[in-house]
Every structure is written in C-alpha cells, then in structure tokens.
C-alpha cells in the first residue's frame, strides 16, 4: 500500500487515482474535524478548500514531512480564518421532522457541539485532535506548531472548562 507521502507526490503530477485514495483515507477524519470545529457550519466549503489548497501546494510538499500533519495544518489554518469571519451564532442541526427520541439524541449531539464551540479556539483544536482524532501529543503539537507542553496545558484548560459545564448540568 502506497504511503500518503508517495500519493501526494503523485498528485503533484496530476494523478487522479492517487488523489482519490487520499480522499478516501482522509475524508472521514478531516471532515469530522472540521464539523466539530465549526459545529457543523460551512463544512463542505472548508473541506473543499482544504483539499484545493493541498492539491495546489502538492508540488511544494516537503518529503520529510508527514502528510497527515500537513493536511491538518491546512485545515486548522482555514478553520481559524473561518472563525474570524463567521457570525458567532451556532447552527441548529436538529431535524424538525425527526421523532421525539431522535430529536433528543440530536439535541444531545448539538449541545455537545455547542459546548465544543464555546471553548476558546486553541483549547478546542487540542481537544478535537487529541480526543476525537486520537492523535498523540507530539502529533498535535506538530499540527498546531506549538510546544508539547502547550498542548498539555491547553488540554487541561479545555477539560477543566468542560468539567465546569458538567457540574452546571447537575
């Protein structure tokens, strides 16, 4: 199986199957990262823009670098830019036609997304990458271009904020 780094090299030469394979490998983690970052808003635009930038910059991809780190760096930067532009109100993803149980389940999901959205961006980034994407502290630090210690402290701050929310619920 070709590595991600080999595939992005092929993409730089206009290879469509290589790009399809990269999309297949990363469609879920990348789109879910964006979804959780933006609480489900403008996901398609940001997802598309991330891949567009990746394809445009494919020829400049440094061979020593990890593709996943590079791709998520692009996504993080785009999400940060989006956050500066986007209106603050979070979208309501609950389906009006859903049944009561379904609505309750969706509400729980939306509440969790809203809580995530309320976290300061640096804490949210760390929490999503560490918890949902299951990345190590080193990988997270590489994506966010910050020291490992910063990842640790942001993770703690994020958890402390969420713990306060949990206590409020009680």
């Amino acid at each position: 199986m070709a590595t991600d780094e080999a595939l992005i090299g092929e993409v730089a030469h206009g290879d469509e199957p290589a790009l399809r394979e990269l999309l297949r490998r990363y469609e879920r983690p990348l789109s879910h990262f964006i979804y959780r970052y933006t609480a489900g808003r403008d996901v398609e635009d940001l997802y598309q823009e991330t891949w567009l930038r990746a394809v445009r910059a494919a020829a400049r991809f440094e061979p020593g670098k990890r593709f996943s780190t590079w791709l998520f760096q692009i996504a993080v930067n785009l999400c940060r830019d989006w956050r500066r532009r986007a209106p603050p109100e979070a979208s309501d993803a609950a389906d009006e036609t859903a049944g009561a149980d379904e609505v309750e389940r969706i509400d729980a999901g939306v509440d969790a997304l809203r809580l995530l959205a309320r976290l300061p961006a640096p804490q949210r980034e760390v929490l999503i990458l560490r918890y949902f994407q299951d990345l190590t502290e080193d990988e997270t630090a590489a994506i966010l271009e910050c020291p490992k210690g910063t990842v640790k402290s942001r993770m703690h701050q994020a958890l402390a904020r969420l713990a306060a929310s949990v206590r409020e619920e009680r």
Partner: protein, 149 residues
C-alpha cells in the same frame, strides 16, 4: 498515521492518559468519565462519501493544472486534426479561385482580387485559431484516461 489515518471512533483513553500525566489534573481530579460521555455526544451527521464526490469534481480541474500541460493528449489531438487540413485547404483554394474567376466577369479585376485575398486571409486566421485552440481545449478537458474507483 500513514497506514492508519486518524480514525473517528473517540476513545476515552486520551483523556485518561492525559489525566494520569497532568499534574494539575492529579491535584484537582476532573470527572473524566462524565466529560468523555459529554464529548461522545458530539456526533457528526455527515455523508462523507457524497462530500468527497462533490469535492472531487472541483478538484479534477486543479489536478489538471497541477499536472501541467498533458502533452501526449495535445499531440494526439493535433495528429487527429491535421489530416483533414490539406483537404480543407484544397477545397477553399478551389472555392476562392472559382469566386475570383466569376467575380472578374462582372467586377474590375483588382477589386475582385482584393475581396478574394481578404477572404482568404480571414480563412487562414480562422484555421490558425482553430488549431491553436486544440491544446487549450485538451487542457480544459482534463485527464483523458479512465480512473478506477
């Protein structure tokens, strides 16, 4: 992450691992299980396959640009277009000569020559533009090979 790209199944392990390592968490323990339950509620309702299919349509053009000019396709298109050129030129030459002969019977020769030569020059320009458009059209079409998957 090469062989195993980041998966989306959220394990509570990163939280537990953090709590075990973090001095602040140890001095004031956090309700990790409750937080994990809360985070697990952050479900994503997204059809990633449809999303990728839409994005792929847009990416195809970028991919063509990234790959540079597809010279093989350009040469192949030109080779297919060139054999018709002599026949078209011969037909037009015959038509122009006939027009000149017929025109000379009713109009002064210099005027007919002017009209016929102008028309001939215009035709040459059109031919040039048509063949120059071949590489542009090939590049806009994108990769010509079929892609599996």
């Amino acid at each position: 992450m090469n062989e195993h790209p980041p998966q989306d199944a959220p394990p509570a392990a990163p939280l537990a691992a953090h709590a075990a390592e973090c001095e602040a968490c140890q001095s004031a323990p956090l309700p990790i299980d409750r937080i994990a339950m809360l985070l697990d509620g952050a479900e994503v309702s997204l059809d990633t396959t449809v999303l990728s299919a839409r994005v792929m349509v847009r990416l195809r053009r970028e991919l063509t640009l990234a790959g540079g000019v597809p010279w093989r396709a350009v040469v192949s298109a030109l080779v297919r277009a060139l054999p018709a050129l002599p026949a078209v030129v011969a037909c037009d030459t015959y038509a122009l000569r006939t027009a000149y002969v017929l025109g000379k019977a009713i109009l002064p020769a210099p005027l007919v020559a002017y009209v016929v030569l102008s028309y001939g020059a215009l035709l040459l320009l059109f031919f040039g533009l048509t063949y120059a458009a071949v590489p542009v059209l090939v590049a806009r079409q994108g990769p010509t090979r079929t892609v599996a998957g």
